[in-house]
């Protein structure tokens, strides 16, 4: 049984208002910061927040930003991020971050106000069917109808958000419930019925270990699930790679689980992954997929995906297994538990292949590496975007910075050129591809990590989707550094138009670009512009040294495209590499049939 319904009638606890219950429950759940925006239907809760000091409220300028900030906060800390929004438009504005968190498995809790119970269904002012709207974009949601259920529901919501495959949850609280008096129940008195399977099936684990030991051409493909599973999972993964000398690649979400400076690192795989990562995936005989979900950006053409591989798949979500790619050894469980069991067995047996047996595999991989798929032509008079990221990485790595990105070419370049050596330092919108994610997420990270360097790499188009949050950053002294790779275009849209639509650049050129330096100054932040490669290092140093939010307008070459690239509908071994791309190749890269594949 998932829920103990007897807990619905608390017989203990203090009596207080619904709004006070909300604040008390958040405090008891260890919440220090919440992101939100007030409105009529949440005024009682805001009034309670005003009268205490344990819970700090971060006022954003748009509810979408509250959601992304909570996501950034959650991904930096591993705790549940919380946002508080009002009914109607407040809740609908939060839908995008909820879906973003759902697809990227980020634990956040959205508390939304609702019109009083008696007015629900009457088309009242600022009424929306919030529970109905958010049902498909949350892991679970609740409409509170009795104030005595409120504390139990909040504690359950935290549990559901962070347990198993993490995800967003929402609690819709009508205003009369916030004002009504009820009993508060502490977390320890609430029984949690939701218990996903954590421990993997022993036979499957044993078989997986046997396969890995016998593998001649193994590869590990790790994903965000490793990072969500926690620091122990990351340690185990690194140990596994070390003792088996396995080559390892990772998804966009999984960057940092294995250090980018590690010798077995192949770089990111997938549509804009490295040549060596994709070729290794294509030619492997045993693939160990850890906490990854075979997204279409990863697999390319499914029919030609790793044709000779036996696939082992560890995932906490049974529905992720065999969804897109049929696997041979499914292991349902938490990555840390499963890797622990695998390591236990591995340490016990000595039948691991002699290093020499895999020598030819590593030789092959090193040949692919020599292809240098990330190479680009440096220019003296204009800044290449790849160069900008490389310099940003070189000059900031000693600070161990947190990086967020918006969505587009700059995001892929950051994933390719910024070396992530630690987990939980990289926040990007992977599954949903939400432009406008990066800046508010960076503010959330900065609130959680006030003394660390937090950089948002942005595009000139993406940054304008939540630019109003500069005001939030100033108000809450979040000294986020926004590094805008300004090429005057929606670069990724333009790249696709060049590849697919005969270079007809329909609405991908951003006319009337604001002056980012003046814009920063208008908000009270610092604006820096850099146009020449020779000045870049000094400008980056100036940005890092600044103790205020910075908008860094980095003018990069306008027409550079992001390579390598697997055109949609193609296989891993059919990559487009930068030095092979002529105008003719660009035009014919994707045939008409594959155009619909996005």
């Amino acid at each position: 049984m998932k829920y103990d319904h007897t807990a619905a009638q608390p017989v203990y606890g203090r009596e207080m208002s619904g709004a006070a219950i909300v604040v008390q429950a958040l405090i008891d759940q260890g919440v220090k910061h919440i992101f939100g925006y007030p409105g009529g239907a949440v005024l009682p809760i805001f009034d309670e927040i005003y009268q205490q000091e344990k819970l700090q409220h971060i006022l954003v300028r748009h509810e979408q930003a509250a959601g992304h900030a909570a996501e950034g906060y959650a991904r930096a800390t591993g705790k549940v991020g919380v946002l508080l929004v009002t009914s109607g438009p407040g809740a609908t504005n939060a839908v995008t971050p909820l879906q973003d968190a759902l697809i990227d498995s980020v634990p956040i809790l959205c508390i939304s106000g609702q019109v009083p119970t008696t007015l629900i269904g009457s088309d009242a002012f600022q009424e929306a069917d919030t529970v109905g709207i958010t049902r498909p974009c949350t892991k679970h949601n609740w409409l509170v109808k009795n104030v005595n259920d409120l504390s139990r529901i909040i504690h359950e919501a935290f549990h559901v958000a962070r347990t198993g495959r993490p995800g967003p949850v929402l609690i819709d609280i009508p205003k009369d419930i916030q004002l009504a008096s009820g009993f508060y129940v502490e977390p320890k008195f609430v029984s949690m019925g939701y218990r996903p399977q954590l421990v993997g099936e022993t036979r499957a684990i044993d078989y997986a270990v046997d396969l890995l030991c016998a593998a001649k051409k193994p590869v590990i493909y790790s994903g965000g699930g490793v990072i969500n599973s926690g620091a122990h999972a990351v340690r185990l993964l690194r140990e596994l790679v070390h003792i088996g000398d396995f080559p390892i690649t990772s998804t966009l979400m999984g960057l940092g689980a294995y250090p980018a400076n590690g010798k077995n690192w192949l770089g990111m795989l997938g549509m804009h992954g490295t040549y060596e990562a994709n070729m290794t995936m294509h030619d492997c005989d045993i693939m160990l997929a850890v906490g990854a979900r075979f997204d279409d950006r990863i697999t390319g053409c499914l029919d030609a995906f790793s044709p000779d591989a036996k696939i082992i798949h560890i995932d906490i979500d049974p529905s992720s297994i065999n969804k897109n790619v049929r696997v041979n050894v499914p292991i349902v469980g938490d990555v840390a538990y499963v890797l622990e069991a695998m390591m236990y067995r591995l340490r016990g047996i000595s039948s691991m292949q002699e290093p020499s047996a895999r020598e030819s595999w590593w030789q092959q991989i090193n040949k692919w590496r020599e292809r240098k798929s990330l190479a680009y032509h440096q220019k003296t008079n204009v800044i290449m975007p790849q160069y900008a990221i490389e310099r940003l990485y070189t000059l900031t790595k000693k600070y161990n910075p947190y990086l967020t990105t918006e969505v587009g070419q700059h995001q892929m370049w950051t994933a390719q050129f910024f070396g992530f050596d630690e987990p939980c330092h990289w926040m990007t919108s992977g599954g949903l591809g939400t432009m406008g994610y990066g800046f508010p997420a960076a503010i959330g990270v900065q609130i959680a990590r006030p003394d660390d360097l937090v950089i948002c790499v942005a595009g000139d188009a993406s940054i304008q989707m939540n630019i109003q949050e500069l005001s939030t950053a100033i108000q809450h002294r979040a000294r986020v550094k926004v590094f805008i790779m300004n090429n005057q275009y929606m670069g990724m849209v333009r790249q696709w138009q060049q590849l697919l639509y005969g270079n007809r650049l329909s609405h991908s050129y951003v006319e009337a670009m604001p002056d980012f330096v003046k814009l920063a100054e208008a908000y009270g932040a610092i604006g820096i512009q850099c146009t020449k490669p020779g000045e870049l290092d000094d400008c980056i140093r100036e940005m890092v040294a600044c103790d205020k939010p910075v908008l860094f307008d980095c003018r990069v070459v306008n027409l550079e495209n992001c390579f390598p690239m697997i055109p949609s509908g193609r296989a891993h071994n059919e990559m487009l590499l930068a030095d092979e791309v002529t105008d003719d190749v660009m035009e014919n890269a994707i045939d008409a049939n594959d155009r619909s594949l996005v």
Partner: protein
């Protein structure tokens, strides 16, 4: 069972396998909105619903049982099962056809009830009554110009009853959707 057998369960099925019809029994919390979650999953992910039956079954445990008849290739039906299990207020999902196979049975017991209103006068009345008798249908209402029959059975029996009654003159049909359990003493 060696580990190598374990892996071959449902994972070697190719997409060329024919579409199958399966009946899923889903035990859920008897809360508002649970049905919407289940149906939203089907529409949102593009799965088929051929029949849907819902009712509170275990009052004291506050549980409802949803019976869904769906069709798809085996791999998709497996996905449906796992996706349903992700819904927090869903307690358990049993694919009754798979369970029947595991129990060495052909298929689960499936029953549906239909109320069929037939317009029949004169000579047609005898035909209608004969047909009803052959199908074990109960007459629940009648006037000199109509009958209402209650007929129970598996869905194909009901289909057949309706198609034979149609020439006589059907005015209205109401069907409950499928209720299903597996044979034997074991519960789901």
């Amino acid at each position: 069972m060696p580990a190598s057998d374990f892996i071959l369960n449902d994972f070697t099925i190719s997409d060329n396998t024919p579409v199958e019809t399966h009946t899923l029994a889903v035990l859920v919390d008897n809360d508002p909105g649970v049905l919407a979650r289940v149906i939203g999953l089907f529409s949102g992910r593009g799965y088929n619903i051929e029949s849907l039956t819902v009712s509170a079954t275990e009052q004291e445990k506050l549980l409802s049982r949803i019976t869904i008849v769906t069709c798809g290739v085996p791999h998709v039906i497996n996905q449906i099962r796992y996706q349903l299990e992700r819904i927090v207020p869903v307690h358990c999902v049993v694919d009754l056809h798979v369970r029947a196979r595991e129990l060495g049975q052909d298929k689960p017991i499936q029953r549906e009830l239909a109320l069929v209103k037939v317009l029949a006068k004169g000579i047609n009345r005898v035909d209608a009554l004969r047909l009803a008798e052959a199908f074990n249908a109960k007459m629940v209402d009648a006037t000199v110009e109509h009958f209402i029959f209650e007929v129970t059975g598996n869905s194909s029996k009901l289909d057949q009853f309706v198609s034979l009654m149609r020439p006589i003159g059907i005015v209205e049909i109401c069907r409950t959707g499928v209720a299903a359990v597996n044979r034997g003493s074991k519960g789901m």
